[in-house]
């Protein structure tokens, strides 16, 4: 455990004492803020239209949770596919390039400890990104309560589950990302391989559209992006949790295997 913490601390410092994390946060805030503004202004336009036409029954469906936050989370989920490889690409590849890999591999730490320490550090970056997303509902509830719109209230429970879901989604992307990072000593190749892996797991979901029966369900289940949906509705389902944890375990296991086996070559 001490070893995991030592490795975690080192990675954490490198993320937060170099520009890496801040560039990621900056770009993430910019893009997610843009998503938010787009979705929110669309929501406003629609609300106004319904108000004008006195479509009260329609207005009932217009709530911030379903109309703004849910789409925002789902969009960010896709955006994570692009952001997370950037976070994980250096984790192992850079150690190889810098030759510090030899230090790690000849220190009394196990491969699992190295993998876990590094992985947890990448999760801390993802956690901050998820927290950034929570700025938007906070803005909504602040200005919403002032503006006096009847639709301006926010339910926090579904947001909490969405946050958990988004974090788990990010965590499973990162597990595949660290695996990609263990395959090479080039950060660029590492990033490209993880994009590739993540996209593959995404497009599996598209294939389900054309499939039938069991196969359709299986393909849908395998898709990386199908599992956030329930979370954004405020539902935490065992099958989704199992899915995310399986991907995480799978990714970390492959990483550990790849590190151990490379030494045999």
């Amino acid at each position: 455990m001490r070893n995991i913490i030592a490795i975690f601390k080192k990675e954490f410092k490198i993320y937060f004492e170099t520009p890496v994390a801040y560039v990621v946060f900056g770009i993430f805030s910019l893009i997610s803020g843009y998503f938010f503004l787009q979705i929110f202004s669309y929501f406003q336009r629609q609300s106004l239209q319904f108000l004008q036409y006195q479509a009260a029954h329609m207005l009932e469906h217009m709530n911030l949770n379903d109309m703004v936050m849910r789409p925002l989370f789902l969009n960010i989920n896709v955006f994570f596919l692009l952001m997370i490889p950037v976070i994980t690409m250096r984790l192992i590849a850079d150690e190889k390039r810098l030759k510090t890999y030899e230090l790690l591999m000849t220190s009394p730490v196990t491969t699992w400890q190295i993998v876990l320490g590094k992985y947890l550090a990448s999760l801390s970056v993802i956690l901050v990104m998820v927290l950034i997303v929570f700025i938007y509902p906070m803005l909504l509830s602040f200005f919403g309560s002032e503006g006096g719109l009847s639709t301006g209230s926010i339910e926090w429970m579904p947001l909490l589950t969405s946050g958990i879901g988004l974090f788990l989604a990010g965590a499973s992307f990162a597990a595949l990302g660290i695996f990609a990072s263990s395959l090479t000593e080039s950060q660029i190749i590492s990033a490209i391989v993880s994009f590739g892996l993540l996209l593959l797991f995404w497009v599996i979901g598209w294939a389900s559209a054309g499939a039938e029966g069991i196969l359709k369900e299986v393909l849908r289940y395998l898709s990386l992006l199908e599992h956030l949906d329930q979370f954004t509705k405020g539902l935490i389902e065992v099958k989704d949790i199992v899915y995310y944890f399986s991907v995480i375990y799978f990714g970390l296991f492959l990483t550990q295997q790849s590190i151990s086996s490379q030494r045999w070559r």
């Binding site: 070893n3 030592a6 601390k9 080192k10 890999y101 030899e102 230090l103 220190s107 009394p108 045999w264």
Partner: protein, 310 residues
């Protein structure tokens, strides 16, 4: 302390080392000598548990490197060919990280960092980013990292590479200092380094061990053809010719030797006495009569140019 038997390692088709065997006793300081590409780094990577051999075994302090890697790694401090430092960290943070993964107790870490920083002369750069250090200082940080936690065995892969002459001297002094209480292997292709710091030497060439012994023994034993030099008061070419014909040996007169000459003996050491007697009895006024010792450099060249195995 370290026992290596029959190590062989291929990188794809390239044979890096073949059937490398040697042992290092506790307290030894061994020079691992060989030209570029000889397989020094490969052997060290195997002993430190960085990678396994294709065949053969390596044991450190009785533990097999690949059966109990953690036990072995705990006991070894290793300076790889390139100092394994993180550019984005300060020297202090880096050493602290290394101390933590080496499992040094948290309370003792600062004292330990101070100790190694002092002996490597990096106390003043503790707060600097490693990226901003000169090559020599990065190397010192690498050395500090290796001796952190006071490991029983220290393995240095070309420790003085990239250092200026003063630093080279300091590092060698430091290594000698360490040698008092530790088992050390250091690789190098610089001969004087071995002569200066090591008691034993292992010579490796094209992946094979060509010699392993005490430096003096090596020098002595390789002197198969012993060359002697003679200086006398009353020198004449006649004397040289007489000795050549009487003893049937090769003689020569190097230009720098005005009143003397050299002769070669091939496993005929019992004749040395006769030759000396001949000169003394002849009344030539013997001034000097000594063997010409081969330098380690000559031995090295000899060992690594003929493909002879010892």
């Amino acid at each position: 302390m370290i026992e290596v038997k029959g190590l062989t390692k291929f990188y794809k088709q390239i044979r890096a080392i073949e059937d490398v065997s040697f042992s290092v006793e506790k307290g030894d300081i061994v020079g691992f000598l060989g030209p570029n590409g000889a397989g020094k780094t490969t052997t060290m990577k195997i002993i430190t548990g960085f990678m396994p051999p294709d065949s053969g075994v390596a044991k450190v302090a009785g533990f097999d490197v690949f059966e109990s890697p953690l036990e072995v790694k705990k006991r070894i401090g290793y300076l790889p060919e390139n100092p394994p430092v993180y550019n984005d960290m300060t020297v202090y943070d880096y050493l602290k990280f290394v101390a933590e993964i080496k499992g040094i107790e948290s309370k003792k870490i600062d004292v330990e960092i101070e100790r190694v920083s002092e002996s490597c002369g990096i106390t003043d750069v503790q707060k600097r980013l490693i990226a901003h250090l000169s090559k020599g200082f990065r190397q010192r940080v690498g050395i500090a990292q290796a001796i952190l936690g006071n490991p029983e065995i220290v393995i240095f892969d070309e420790p003085t590479i990239g250092l200026d002459p003063n630093q080279v001297f300091e590092v060698r002094t430091l290594i000698k200092e360490l040698a008092k209480e530790k088992t050390i292997i250091l690789s190098t292709h610089i001969l004087p380094e071995v002569e200066m710091t090591c008691k034993k030497v292992i010579v490796i060439h094209k992946g094979r061990i060509v010699a392993k012994e005490n430096i003096e023994d090596l020098l002595r034993r390789r002197t198969k053809i012993s060359e002697m030099t003679v200086r006398v008061k009353r020198f004449s070419i006649e004397l040289m010719k007489q000795i050549r014909d009487k003893f049937n040996i090769k003689v020569s007169q190097p230009p720098e030797l005005e009143n003397g000459f050299n002769f070669e003996l091939e496993n005929q050491e019992d004749r040395i006495e006769d030759i000396a007697k001949f000169i003394v009895d002849g009344g030539y006024g013997l001034l000097e009569f000594r063997p010409i010792t081969l330098s380690l450099e000559d031995v090295f060249r000899e060992l690594t140019t003929e493909e002879k195995t010892v």
